[in-house]
């Protein structure tokens, strides 16, 4: 378990240093994207339309924050991660097309994303679910909001972050997936639990 501190834009060489169970803190530019923003970004790509921001080397955060406008400026009130598996259907294309280096969320992601992070050089960092104020504290500034028509949670918030973390590297760029490893162990425990409860036939 090594602790890394990276600043965006992050290079492929840097990202390849990370292994599962390492801890990462990210500084620089981070962009929120949930289901709808992923969907729209991929539609834009297919139509050859540029995204509002170039995502190469940046961090993407699965998050629908609470944001408040104070004296004409947006401030992040709370910004914990959302369940990442919902983005599994988009993320491989997203990594491939936009060269993002860090995907941040909770709950882990599946095989398709794990293959994409290995192939194109990215990691998935797990941020503690629900730890919304811990996250908000590391966000210094809302640079801009795009696609606000999608609603506050689904919009693309472009954020400036400092030492955003701790992120547990749960999918590295070498094909390892910590959540899948835990799932395997859990599956092995299943029979033991059934036995304890007298459920084994």
């Amino acid at each position: 378990m090594t602790i890394y501190r990276f600043k965006t834009p992050i290079s492929e060489a840097e990202i390849r240093k990370l292994k599962v169970n390492d801890v990462l803190y990210v500084s620089g530019t981070m962009v929120t994207a949930r289901d709808q923003a992923h969907k729209r970004a991929l539609e834009y790509f297919r139509q050859g339309k540029p995204l509002p921001i170039k995502l190469e080397g940046l961090a993407v955060f699965h998050c629908g924050p609470i944001v408040k406008k104070k004296e004409g400026r947006w401030t992040i009130v709370a910004a914990g991660p959302t369940t990442s598996t919902r983005m599994d259907i988009f993320e491989d294309e997203f990594i491939k097309n936009f060269q993002v280096r860090v995907i941040i969320g909770k709950g882990g992601m599946g095989k398709r994303t794990t293959e994409a992070t290995a192939k194109y050089g990215a990691v998935y960092g797990a941020f503690t679910g629900g730890a919304a104020i811990l996250a908000a504290k590391a966000i210094n500034n809302v640079k801009k909001v795009e696609w606000f028509d999608l609603g506050m949670p689904e919009a693309m918030w472009i954020l400036e972050v400092e030492e955003f973390g701790p992120l547990v590297v749960a999918i590295d760029s070498h094909g390892n997936n910590l959540f899948m490893e835990v799932e395997k162990k859990v599956e092995q425990n299943k029979q033991k639990i059934y036995q304890k409860l007298g459920l084994s036939s």
Binding site: T128, G130, V186
Partner: protein
């Protein structure tokens, strides 16, 4: 002040209290879990959770950005006047809390996908009514996030299997949910009634504090047995591995149809937010879960 105005004010306060301050029993359970967790990664997650709870209190900001779908549980005394105006008061309080606390707008039209922007909409905020005798109103708010909501399950089990079937149904639900509902979780279990009653009972069971055992000692034993079993899964805090997967299990039931055995599991995330207050007929308000602001 007239009742409706008081209800509106109290509902606003409850929403604010609930999303910022965790109930004491939940906080204590998380502290205990942190002390006892043996997985290194699991412990980092519980540390982050406890730090976050503290920061939320310090900055008076919502513990989690997902402040849920707004659901109220109202126990209204039959003698209370203007009961028909309570719904309007709760809607107003919800709008004000969305703006002022603030809480996240979470009411989306399922066909147009449009977010109403103020946490209100068709049937939302949702009110569970219970008419009791007397002239008091007891009001509870349960702001529950989408992550834990997405893994709730209801099943029509085989009556002949009895509680054996229930045990398997709960264990399988926890195994399937894995990391998704932000473990460590609290499980509300509803058994019997019908399909709708089972889920309503399960969700309502989440309102019972963790330090209050089931009044039925046999059911309390069952809760403990299943709790120990699900904590053997190894899913751990946030699904990153460890021995704390579930903080508590609350079972409640209704009598069932001879041919049916409905069972429901309502997951709550570690940020198990709830707040309750009682309004007396003379207008005095007593906050039962949180200290008054």
């Amino acid at each position: 002040m007239e009742t409706v105005k008081i209800v509106e004010k109290v509902a606003f306060n409850l929403l604010k209290q609930a999303v910022i301050y965790l109930p004491k029993d939940v906080k204590q359970a998380l502290q205990k879990a942190h002390a006892e967790e043996t997985s290194k990664t699991g412990k980092t997650q519980l540390r982050a959770i406890l730090d976050n709870v503290e920061f939320a209190e310090k900055y008076q900001a919502p513990i989690c950005q997902d402040t849920g779908t707004i659901i109220f549980y109202i126990k209204a005394g039959a003698m209370v006047k203007d009961l028909d105006k309570i719904e309007g008061a709760l809607t107003k309080a919800t709008r004000r809390a969305t703006e002022e606390v603030p809480i996240r707008p979470n009411a989306v039209n399922p066909f147009t996908q449009k977010n109403s922007g103020d946490n209100t909409g068709r049937m939302i905020p949702y009110i569970n009514w219970e008419i009791v005798s007397g002239d008091e109103i007891q009001m509870t708010v349960l702001p529950k996030g989408g992550g834990s909501e997405n893994v709730c399950v209801m099943g029509m089990l085989v009556p002949g299997e009895g509680t054996r079937g229930v045990k398997k149904f709960i264990v399988d639900a926890v195994l399937k949910a894995g990391s998704k509902p932000c473990p460590p979780n609290i499980l509300g279990i509803g058994i019997g009634g019908g399909s709708d009653i089972a889920m309503k009972t399960a969700k309502k069971a989440l309102l019972r504090p963790l330090n209050i055992p089931n009044p039925d000692t046999e059911i309390a034993k069952l809760e403990k047995e299943i709790l120990e079993a699900v904590n053997m899964t190894g899913i751990g805090p946030m699904g990153l591995g460890g021995k704390t997967t579930v903080l508590g299990i609350n079972i409640d039931y209704a009598h069932r149809h001879p041919a049916s055995y409905p069972a429901a599991v309502a997951f709550n995330c570690w940020a198990a937010r709830r707040a309750t207050a009682r309004i007396s007929s003379d207008g005095t308000v007593e906050y039962l879960t949180h200290k008054v602001e």
